[in-house]
């Protein structure tokens, strides 16, 4: 480690690339938060009973009377070519849209089976857009497990929206990535306080508020997994403002600083705007740091948030990263993050879950971040775990959530300490 320049961090760390069984969700899962964000959108998966079962298992959709997502389940006769699958799809969509007049955007979401049988959803979307214009716009993307991992579903969705955005010559900044409304409002308020008010968001809450894009658009990503969306925006002539991602006080500051710099905001104004929220964030993080300081952490790959989160936990919470796994490493987008993350941890990309479990058991970190399929089995082996999915389903961006983000990692450790008196008896019972 002594040989590495601190400024380089993990930039040149060789990446352990793995192929094998992956204990991760497919891209369909993104529908669970995307449909809450886009309030007039319906997500129609064209797939199998497995797709429907995945969505309801991951989302617990029983809470909704009629959710704004569903699955057109392919049946034997669709596959055997006994019926025209395109005609079937037209019929189901027409029925759906007549029952749900509130729907203004419909996403046809490809799945593993629809990709394998090469059902052309792009053609279907064009045909349906024409049939249901102007009331409903129909787009398509793939959330299939053979092409996308978990959060890549959001990337595919947003990338599909970009070509459909109207052209604009206006100099605007586009914030890209689905954030909870309350968090998005905080970000907009911070930028507005610096005098940056020409801000749009992708995705917009309602289709009528969809942003426009052109050569004078600059954009900032709030999520590290938006590689395809990044490329699609570049193709529209927009320019990317590279920065670390807005997790933690430091990440939020650097992210805001990059935009402020782009728009020539005076440093004194910038400092004045962020002073109070940054101080609040640092105070809140300090509370969780008492639990996290000096502890080690091991990340299984899940959402692509792992590298930014490891940066936050090591630099602001005093933790040591042992392994940082990511399903996919987008080197360009993560260059600012890798530079900040001190050399030391294994950086792994992809997964061979049994091999990684062996490494996790050997490392025996104080906290292991993993999916729900692995968490209880690892707890039963005596390891403290943090469910990775909560990091995606909880508001964690920007200053006001920085303390919550740290607390998500601190809670399993605090809980373990609280329950310590039970532990010996439990082990004796086994």
């Amino acid at each position: 480690m002594t040989g590495t320049l601190p400024a380089l961090g993990c930039t040149n760390t060789p990446v352990l690339k793995e192929r094998g069984q992956r204990e991760v969700f497919c891209g369909l899962t993104g529908i669970i938060w995307l449909h809450r964000k886009m309030q007039d959108a319906f997500f129609l998966v064209v797939g199998s009973r497995t797709c429907a079962h995945l969505l309801q298992s991951a989302a617990g959709v029983m809470i909704f009377a009629e959710p704004r997502f569903g699955t057109a389940i392919l049946e034997e006769k669709d596959l055997a070519g006994l019926v025209d699958a395109q005609a079937e799809l037209d019929r189901e969509v027409a029925r759906l849209l007549s029952r749900r007049p509130d729907i203004r955007q419909l996403f046809l979401v490809g799945s593993c089976p629809s990709e394998v049988i090469k059902l052309d959803l792009h053609r279907a979307a064009e045909r349906m857009s024409a049939a249901h214009a102007p009331h409903v716009r129909v787009l398509n993307y793939s959330g299939s497990g053979i092409e996308t991992t978990f959060t890549q579903g959001e990337d595919a969705c947003l990338a599909a929206m970009v070509p459909a955005l109207a052209h604009s010559e206006a100099r605007e900044v586009l914030i890209v990535g689905a954030l909870p409304d309350v968090v998005e409002d905080q970000a907009l308020a911070l930028l507005a306080a610096m005098g940056i008010t020409n801000v749009r968001c992708l995705p917009a809450r309602r289709s009528a508020d969809a942003p426009q894009v052109g050569e004078n658009t600059v954009f900032a990503l709030v999520q590290p997994f938006l590689g395809d969306t990044h490329a699609a925006l570049l193709r529209r002539g927009a320019r990317h403002i590279a920065a670390p991602f807005p997790f933690g006080a430091e990440g939020t500051t650097l992210w805001l600083q990059a935009i402020a710099h782009e728009f020539g905001v005076p440093q004194a104004v910038f400092d004045a705007v962020i002073a109070a929220p940054r101080a609040r964030a640092e105070k809140a993080i300090a509370a969780a740091r008492q639990t996290l300081d000096g502890k080690s952490i091991f990340f299984f790959p899940d959402s692509q948030l792992e590298i930014p989160l490891a940066r936050f936990l090591t630099r602001e919470c005093g933790m040591t990263a042992l392994e940082v796994g990511t399903p996919f490493l987008h080197r360009d987008l993560l260059a600012p993050e890798l530079a900040l993350l001190a050399a030391g941890p294994v950086i792994s990309e992809g997964q061979d879950v049994d091999k990684q479990l062996a490494r996790a058991r050997a490392a025996r970190a104080d906290l292991t971040v993993c999916g729900l399929g692995l968490a209880n089995p690892l707890e039963a082996e005596g390891m403290a775990t943090k469910w990775a999915i909560e990091l995606v389903f909880t508001p964690v961006h920007f200053y006001e959530q920085a303390g919550d983000l740290a607390a998500l990692f601190a809670r399993p450790l605090r809980r373990r300490a609280l329950l310590a008196p039970l532990a010996p008896r439990m082990e004796a019972a086994e």
């Binding site: 094998g20 891209g27 899962t29 009973r49 309801q56 298992s57 089976p113």
Partner: protein, 527 residues
Amino acid sequence: MKLTLWTYEGPPHVGAMRVATGMKGLHYVLHAPQGDTYADLLFTMIERRDHRPPVTYTTFQARDLGGDTATLFKTACQDAVDRFAPEALIVGASCTAELIQDDPAGLAESMDLGIPVIPLDLPSYQRKEGFGTDETFLQIVRHLAKPIARSAQITANLIGPTALGFRHRDDIVEITRLLADMGINVSVCAPMGARPSDIARLGAAHFNVLMYPEHAESAARWLETNCKQPYTKCVPIGVGATHDFLAEVAAITGLPIKSDTSRLRLPWWTRSVDSTYLTGKRVFVFGDGTHVAAAARIARDEMGFEVAGLGCFNREMARPIRALAKDYGVEALITDDYLEVEAAIAALHPEMILGTQMERHIGKRLGIPCAVISAPVHVQDFPARYSPQMGWEGANVIFDTWVHPLVMGLEEHLLHMFRDDFEFHDEAGASHHGGQHIARPASAEATPAAAAATEAGSMPAEIATVVEETATDSNVIWLSDAEKELRKIPFFVRGKARRNTEKYAEGKGLTRISIETLYEAKAHYAR
């Protein structure tokens, strides 16, 4: 193509996983893309299992499709055998792998893995989870069980319990006790807890107890033919069914019926006078066929309810459930579309639902109490305490579970008597509903609009919407005296009183509802 927003059953390979995860020493190699591993969390989270399901997913990707997914499958098989050293392997394909037609069965058989390899053919685009459990267990039994010498003592196998089953864990204990009372030992319980080597000695038992026909009827029939083992047809859920079950066991074994019923409380609890209020409560029963049939019998014969409607989500049980419905004088609802179930419940206005977790949510929306009697399971269906459905203790558990969601007898009377009481009023809600107790404002005489608003405020928003919709759906006008009278009726039956009165008025061709109409309707619908 069929639009589905929510489904009672998963795909058939999840059924196969339930069998594999229930067993020990068996491993499942599933040819499947990334993402299908979501099914692991059903077991580790809903059932709180402390081990990963014994499943290896081949995790093929788009870029593999043009290449060699077959080699990927073979590597996964070899790795699984080397790593987990199972006694036997089951192999199959999920929905996507079924399309690429790699023939997992042929591939695995060609590998000479040194252990029995059991291929599964689960058509993902035709069948569902229930078929998956039944077919998987059948194939395991066909491959591993053989006729062998009977045990010297009279023994029985328990067949049907799986991982992720509705109270299977505790039913096993209860049935084991019932059989022990008769002097019968359990030889093998399968799939739950059995190893492949245990499946091989299934034939030693004198008969099989088929606990859940959904999961093991095919295996029971196969064993009857090939190992000459009779199997029990009666599922012992409820007092009557448990007696019938014991009689069936006695007939099969020639042993006298012996059972310790000192733990059984349901018969006295249901005769005790405080249960009088249960009389004729109209219930709607929905779930898997086995639990629905059992629940309908308990509801009518042991609780004194009236079965207003029943149905099941698994088509495999459509025929017996239709026949059962005929016995009860109702039409069976056989559907896996929860919106149809919701519509049926809304039309029938039952006073209680005995259903799945989905019907519990439907009940919340419609303001109807619900007790859960069947899978699909939810984390709440895995209580820490012992709570079987089968046998004597199961009957006790069922009595408690069904009664708790209802407004209790005396409380119901008090609500009727003191319906205008200053504390005991709509806004207060029933004590056990956990709502806030709000004292009613002194000016009880509010404007109609304000009255409507407070009425809405006394209920969860979703229910209030339903009531409002009902009110506006009808063309009948409520005169203000009648509206005021209606508001004196306790909130938990008011919606039904309103609908019944409007239905009655429409039937009579009335356009206005007076106090007279309200009471005429009450008399008309009186039971």
